[in-house]
Amino acid sequence: MLYQTQLFGAISVEETKVVTLPQGMPGFEEFKRYTIIAADPESPLFWLQSLDDPGLAFITLNPFVIVEKYRPALSAEDRADLDLEGEGELLYLVIVTLKENYLESTANLRAPLVINAKNLRGRQVILDDPAFSLRHNIWQNLPVAGEESENRRHTIRIAQLSAAQAF
């Protein structure tokens, strides 16, 4: 199906690439349908384009490339909203605020977007841990030590969900 977008013009999105957020997101509760658009084939940065509002799009990031040991804890409410059975396969994206000076850009680690890869339901999960900043400067710990191949696998998994490429 064809959707109009402000940033990318008309894009074609299969139903299998539509991510649905039953609760929307705080501040955007009425917009529930999104699609992921890869910005670059290798990049851990992705656009999250609203399919309900052509002008609404977020920049998101695979969080594992900027923090080590990021393991968001999901509550029973989170799991119910995602219709999650057992462990399932979960994908994580954090929302980036891109600043005029892009070196000041931050990611919201306190409220990641969690996607159930099986049914493409998503939820912006609000974490209790104050150690996760709402405004984590994304240049802080580059490069991140840890499993680079695992990070890349997560990026690839997210890219597989993407409807279109924007590069």
Binding site: Q23, G27, F28, E77, A80, I95, Y102, L134, L142
Partner: protein, 83 residues
């Protein structure tokens, strides 16, 4: 705003599915129990407000942002290669 006065162990119901119970008062803190459907989001107001503001701020970018995103990605790759 509807204002009610409750004592510990007393409750307030909202609609058919939400019940708030005052559990305990200690000093200037109140411990509150909330029964609500699992899919209804319940949060401390100030956290929810902060998330809301972050989301709204993050959504505000002009049409030049895709270029800036590319700049960010290029810069990032460069720094990763340098280390």
């Amino acid at each position: 705003m509807l204002i009610l006065t409750r004592k510990p162990r007393e409750s307030i119901t909202i609609g058919e599915n939400v019940k708030i119970t005052i559990l305990e008062i200690k000093g200037n803190s109140v411990r509150v129990g909330i029964e609500a459907p699992p899919t209804l989001a319940v949060h401390r107001e100030e956290v929810f407000r902060l998330i809301r503001e972050q989301n709204i701020g993050a959504s505000r970018h002009g049409v030049v942002m895709p270029e800036r995103l590319q700049n960010l990605w290029q810069e990032w790759k460069k720094r990763n290669e340098e280390s």
